[in-house]
């Protein structure tokens, strides 16, 4: 393992301090806890909180700021934060209009956030939540926890953050989250595993000429391993999975988020983006919004994920395009 660190067990604390100290005009760290909260909390707007295990930087703390998240709760690497931490964040983010939690669909995250929600409700704070499950790589059957929450979560942050900024109520934000989540779908391809610093070795190993489709952002196994192919072929495979999931219809409007998983250079991400946009055009879709870069990573995993969001309401597009003051959007 070759990493730019001091001590593996201090990595999360030092990362959070580094982020907050680099952007003091935007961010504060709550004393005693790994919570990043925006400077200058607006009065009487719904607080939007997200969080989860660390290792997905810039998610989630990089999206804290005006127009997006009120606070982010950082767990240990790939490990959900604890209920008391989340509860602290809820209390700090509540300015009288309630707090909304954006949770990714992992059993640990759900249990910890639900316990925190219970604690907050006992204190009389209005809390509601949504669970993002955009990863279509995993079959959603009665035998699993359902689909995983991955890069599409960032689009949810953006849209709900804009709604909160515009003065939406907790109930309106809840309704908006339900509508948008069902229109967001993601699938990824990995070129390598990720190394958790305290573990010191990759969670899985792919040969030099091997890729794996559908790997999760913690290195959960995907649905197929095969020989490395040119970008065009990889894109073709991913789009062939996304197409029936929506399903695509001519002239429908879509937003695209191309997300690097941590170790894939932007040069390669743009090559991938070029192929994605070409192929979506040949599907006769109307691409109205595109973002390319590292938004929800898996530490040092090489690979990319492709998120599509079907724009059913022009207000969603306005919310995606509205200005924010964050480190990473």
């Amino acid at each position: 393992m070759k990493k730019l660190i001091n001590n593996p067990s201090d990595i999360v604390v030092e990362m959070v301090d580094g982020l907050v100290n680099s952007y003091p005009e935007l961010l504060n760290r709550l004393d005693s806890s790994l919570i990043v909260i925006r400077k200058n909390l607006p009065e009487n707007k719904v607080g939007i909180i997200s969080g989860g295990g660390s290792g997905h930087e810039p998610a989630h703390a990089g999206f804290v700021g005006q127009g997006m998240l009120t606070a982010a709760v950082c767990g240990q690497v790939f490990t959900s934060p604890t209920p008391d931490q989340i509860f602290e964040a809820i209390k700090a983010a509540d300015t009288g209009k309630g707090v909304f939690l954006v949770i990714k669909n992992y059993s640990g995250d759900i249990m910890n956030f639900e316990m925190a929600k219970d604690m907050a409700e006992m204190e009389g704070i209005n809390v509601d939540s949504c669970i993002v499950d955009d990863d279509i790589a995993v079959e959603n059957s009665t035998y699993t926890q359902g689909k995983r929450g991955v890069a599409g979560t960032i689009l949810v942050h953006k849209i709900l953050g804009a709604a909160s900024e515009n003065g939406a109520t907790l109930e309106e934000i809840k309704q908006l989250s339900d509508k948008t989540i069902s229109n967001i779908k993601t699938i990824g391809v990995a070129f390598s595993g990720a190394t958790v610093p305290e573990v010191g070795k990759p969670g899985f190993v792919l040969a030099d000429d091997e890729i794996e489709y559908g790997v999760g952002i913690h290195g959960e196994p995907g649905y197929r391993r095969e020989k490395l192919q040119p970008s065009k072929q990889l894109v073709n495979e991913l789009i062939s999975k996304l197409k029936p999931a929506f399903p695509f219809k001519e002239n429908d409007q879509y937003a695209v988020l191309i997300n690097g998983l941590g170790a894939t250079p932007l040069m390669e991400q743009y090559v991938f983006a070029n192929d994605v946009l070409k192929q979506l055009k040949s599907e006769k879709l109307n691409i109205v919004f595109t973002k390319v870069g590292n938004y929800m990573t898996a530490i040092d995993m090489a690979g990319v994920s492709l998120t599509l969001m079907k724009i059913e309401d022009q207000a969603w597009l306005e919310k995606l395009n509205s200005p924010v003051m964050t480190v990473a959007w």
């Binding site: 959900s80 604890t82 992992y106 926890q145 305290e198 573990v199 969670g203 999760g216 290195g219």
Partner: protein, 192 residues
């Protein structure tokens, strides 16, 4: 009879077993989970022992409550709320009874409720359930614990992170069941 000294010895031995097997627990968690069960459990039991060192306890119930709070606040992931809920229910139960079988059964119910899981889903419940039954019938042995832990190997995970790999979880021990096995081994060594 439960007394505070025995309960503290039990939980301190549990902490030692976790520490000794930290890397093994994370290795078990790598193919079917996210490879951090050992580190997470270790963080939790260390915090628990620090809490023990600076507290004096009136009753086993108080110890269980302190254990619940420190595990819940330090493990993270799914194991934090699950072990936390187990010890919280055990704390409540220990107020009413000193029967270990009844107390462990309460812990089991806490886990089942929090994790919305039942037996056969390749989770720690697959160890807590048989252990609690054997305790109630008064014939818990190390063999019962070992058999329960091993019984998770052929199961398909339908709850927790291992459920994402579905059939590929067959042939792997469930890490949470192994750490629960340590809890009960330590219990057997100190409370018999």
């Amino acid at each position: 009879m439960l007394d505070t000294t025995k309960v503290l010895n039990w939980l301190n031995e549990f902490a030692s077993l976790i520490e000794q097997n930290k890397a093994y627990l994370s290795d078990l968690d790598t193919p079917i989970g996210d490879g951090d069960h050992g580190n997470n459990m270790s963080r939790g039991v260390k915090a628990m022992q620090e809490q023990f060192a600076k507290s004096s306890f009136e009753s086993p119930s108080d110890i269980f409550k302190a254990t619940a709070m420190t595990l819940m606040g330090n493990i993270g992931g799914a194991s934090g709320p699950l072990y936390g809920s187990a010890f919280m229910e055990m704390a409540k139960s220990a107020k009413e009874t000193s029967d270990l079988g009844t107390i462990i059964q309460a812990g089991l119910n806490g886990i089942a409720k929090r994790g919305k899981a039942q037996t056969g889903e390749k989770t720690m419940i697959d160890v807590w359930q048989p252990v609690s039954e054997s305790l109630l019938a008064n014939h818990l042995t190390q063999q019962v614990i070992d058999t329960a832990v091993k019984s998770t190997k052929p199961l398909i995970a339908t709850k927790g992170r291992a459920s994402y790999v579905a059939k590929r979880s067959i042939g792997h021990l469930d890490p949470g069941s192994v750490s629960s096995g340590y809890l009960f081994t330590a219990m057997l060594n100190n409370l018999k």
